[in-house]
Symmetry: D2
């Protein structure tokens, strides 16, 4: 374990994911916030934008091409999709390790990326070496990665829920269903009518039923687990709350099994996955502000269908917390360092 302080940079730290990264980084014992960038807010104090960080940092936002960024040991991209693929390559080649919280390096196939994100990929050559930053699945590769593609929020909750079943070859892999529900912060900090309080409050809806960008990402990783392509129906929904994701997963069992034991065994050593006792139902609030994923597994009526309930905080385990978990691995630190915050309940 290194005791050297890690110099960290955050590109695009004005959105919710960026703000959460800052909250976690200023509390991390071995990390120092070194560069925080924003094209629009360059020159502004970070604490002017996020007053609740008062006393924790005196940095001002700089431009993304600032020398301060090049002095970092690790740089996090909390930018909209399409930015990291143009800026990360130089950093990576310059020896700076990168954790990209956007979608730019999550899909291995640049054509699939173009299909879902509408842009030609600008750094295809880096795609093969990008490691999908889900420690529960790719821990060893993350340790040595130069470039980590931090998972999406929905994919984190969904993959962790399906993982034990697929790894144990217990379920039909062509009829998987993920019915996922997210708090509105998952839609980002953008001036859009559709996510106004008066539009989202006291209402619930699905969106993206015909196809959501997280679908190919989930399918890719579940395919790794299953050892072959999987069939997945993924329907996301918006919940009138700020934080939290709840994934309700359905799979057809192909063999008898003690699901509770399988899940407990799969995650017994995982610091951030908590398998609840049999019969329980996790609440999103029990992970609010924490890096935990809480999972319960059910077999209604003792039938052939497994129902898995998986909750995370979309901004922590679904974004910034997982990014720090990856940083800890990349720098040989204890994986839980700076991530032991307890959920704020109620």
């Amino acid at each position: 374990m290194t005791t050297k302080t890690i110099r960290t940079g955050v590109i695009g730290a004005t959105g919710y994911t960026g703000a959460e990264l800052l909250r976690l980084l200023v509390g991390h014992p071995n990390a120092a916030l070194h560069a925080v960038t924003s094209r629009t807010d360059a020159g502004v104090s970070v604490t002017d934008r996020f007053p609740w960080l008062g006393g924790k940092t005196d940095l001002k936002y700089v431009q993304p091409d600032s020398d301060l960024v090049r002095e970092c040991d690790v740089v996090f991209f909390a930018t909209p999709n399409g930015t990291a693929m143009t800026q990360a390559p130089d950093l990576v080649r310059g020896g700076i390790r990168v954790v990209d919280l956007s979608a730019d390096f999550r899909l291995r196939d640049p054509l699939e990326w173009k299909q879902w994100y509408g842009l030609q990929h600008a750094a295809e050559d880096l795609l093969p070496e990008a490691v999908y930053g889900l420690p529960e699945l790719y821990r060893d590769q993350i340790r040595d990665a130069r470039l980590v593609a931090n998972p999406g929020c929905y994919p984190t909750a969904v993959i962790l829920g399906f993982m034990p079943l697929l790894a144990a070859r217990l379920v039909d892999t062509v009829s998987l269903i993920a019915d996922a529900k997210s708090g509105v912060s998952g839609a980002g900090r953008k001036a859009e009518l559709g996510i106004l309080f008066a539009e989202m409050g006291e209402s619930f809806k699905a969106y993206g039923a015909p196809g959501h960008r997280h679908l190919p990402e989930i399918r890719q990783i579940l395919g790794d687990l299953a050892g072959r392509p999987v069939g997945l129906t993924f329907v996301p929904h918006l919940v009138p709350m700020v934080r939290g994701i709840h994934a309700t997963l359905y799979a057809e069992l192909t063999a008898p099994a003690d699901l509770q034991s399988i899940f407990e065994a799969a995650y017994v050593n995982e610091p951030f996955v908590d398998v609840l006792p049999s019969g329980a139902h996790p609440e999103t609030r029990t992970v609010r502000g924490s890096n935990m994923c809480r999972i319960a597994v059910h077999r209604p009526g003792q039938g052939s269908r497994a129902v898995i309930l998986s909750v995370i905080d979309n901004l922590v385990k679904g974004a910034a917390g997982q990014a720090l978990q990856n940083m800890n691995l990349m720098f040989g630190l204890p994986e839980t360092l700076g991530l032991d915050g307890i959920a704020v309940v109620p």
Copy 2:
């Protein structure tokens, strides 16, 4: 069409369903509120309990055995499960028509009722004649019914969503899934810790995954539609909002079909079912306070799985509004009378 005013009684009008019944009844042009009962609030003015009804009624609560109840043309039970089965039989035999908004007469099999509700059924002899009060399916029987079992809130949203697919024999009937989400008013007006604002606010959870009382009810009716027993996985969830149900339904298609056309045709003449244009996602707020059910049908990736999104207001189409719709049918009135309120949005 009769123009005679219908004398109506509401048994147990202190909960959310009862209050909503009162709101709709005082605005119904052909109904007069004649008796409103409450064991605990007998003698109290209804408007003391529900001040927003001020000016619309001057009734006081009476005991359930009041003569006023026996003077009614129709009596609604908005009581906890287990009450109507003891009180309704006398009324029915006395020539008073009954709409029971509780679960007492929804299951045809008294043993199944006992299994899910924990009580010996007290009026087994009435079960055969009780009509399930879903007008879109049993309209003709409702017209002549002495006793209508008003559907549960989840069942209404789920059955209306599956109905066209099952009626057209288009889907596999053993692998149906209903992932349903409800506002907290669906849990009733009871002094319980679990449904406090500070427990439910800013959080989301599933409940009843091992088995919920609405499961046998839904299965029974879907079985009618399919012409044989169906396999259904039903997982309800609680949304941090007051009103609204959103059912997300999954079914495996067994034959190619133009789903949009099938749904539009199925409901073309239904005043309270609105099939949205292709690609749409209904929001629960668009039915708030109204008796509408809004449905959208998707086939993600043009695959073999149908995804149906169905929303209702749990207190209106899911309870009190449907009860009035049934009353209109039972008394030969236009089905939409007193039910033309537009959703209050935002």
Copy 3:
């Protein structure tokens, strides 16, 4: 009472106020929606924008200069501030009666208007004849008005709360305080970061403490009531809910008085003001979707300070409902016509 149908037009019907006007107008027995305008949505069906109006209107949006507008008997402006003052004069002079729901004609002094709204007033000559559309205060003038300035939402709640005290000359008029709280729909339907769900949810804040545009409007009318200029401190706040305004008013009593009786007497004949029993606290939900104002009056510790609690639905009595109330007066209709909807609770 005329039985002729009133042809109505709504300018700028894409915001919350406009949508609420449409909801109320399609349910009004003597009004026909004749023209609905939107610069951006011309050609689009109203029900494409607001699906919950399906079946109630088949109008398409037209441009504001459409001939349809000129065929109306009354035109409502639900436009941003600064629009009605340029478009209303032609209509008024053409014999069309106008109810302006924006702020353009609320302040009598064009200099004060310029100071608060940042624009030179474009129709100063019409200001003297514009009638402030608060029926409880200016009912007779409204009947004959060509141009009604519909009050702001905060002013409606605040003025109705202070009115009996000022009219009875019971309070010190230089130390009035209005601490007002509004649901987020009051901020309008605008793509702005500050009113996103993820910004407003689970949080509460004041805004505009140094001075809010509704301050001069309230001061002007309270001055009318007091017969001299008043001193008022007005602090608005945003509540994490969609609809509703709660004004908490503080005034120093200058003479002993039975406040409850004074309030009851003041509003005994008002159909839309409900004075609650002594000791009560009105909830905003009890007016949701309705045109009622509910008021309670307290004298804590039997001291010299009066505390008045006043609630309205900001989109109904605070905007669209009051506009219809004004229309009813202007056209000799019963004042409550089309406005008898009961609050949707819970």
Copy 4:
């Protein structure tokens, strides 16, 4: 500074205040949770009740008279009012320091206590030595106190807001107003109809306008500050959110003053009071989960009235966080130890 670990006990740790104490105590570097009591849950694991504490404690609840309690260095009472006054005296006399989070020792006058709480006080003899646990005002006395009366949530927000004005003798002390708004967790974890989600959601109301128990507590401390009895109107409200208090305070200035400078000077050395820049409006979310109080001061229209906006998290600075701050003082620890958590925003 002692480096010895403090053995802590929590009496009545099943409510929101108790749960928050546990969250903070398990994260405190110098405190060990030694005894956690609950009459109803004795024998149950704390993590069964609060699963989000999993891995942080393996304690089980014990009865309040357990020996474990007597082994503590400090005991916190998170009990309903009326309990600590019967159980704390023995502990205090036994040399165990006590921080009472209930109201039992907040009022110096037992008659006033009886008047507001309806019980004869059971430990009048301890009242004179109980120290009001507001460190910003009574820091020195707290260090040596055997018994600390932890302030109420409203009083903390209100007193910190008025303190600089009263200390500087700048305002009229007979016409103070505190218009306070609280999240629903402030009402406690009790099975009561009035605080159900479906009652509180999407609604706002005042309560206790005729007189709230926190009034005499605030008056007592403001009187200390003013050097004479003060006149205060206090009106609390419930906001549809879980956590947070926002106090809007009104005071009449009796002398010209630079309010911003006075507030900044008053709190320059306070670690948990943040005076915002001129013109700002604090949001309750910016203190969620943190021990901060954020304050802004306004003088609308440069008039004679000061408006102070003060926000805290009712469960942290308004309860459990302040209790730990007091413990830190009592045991000679750095005042901020274990209390440096950053607000969880959004």
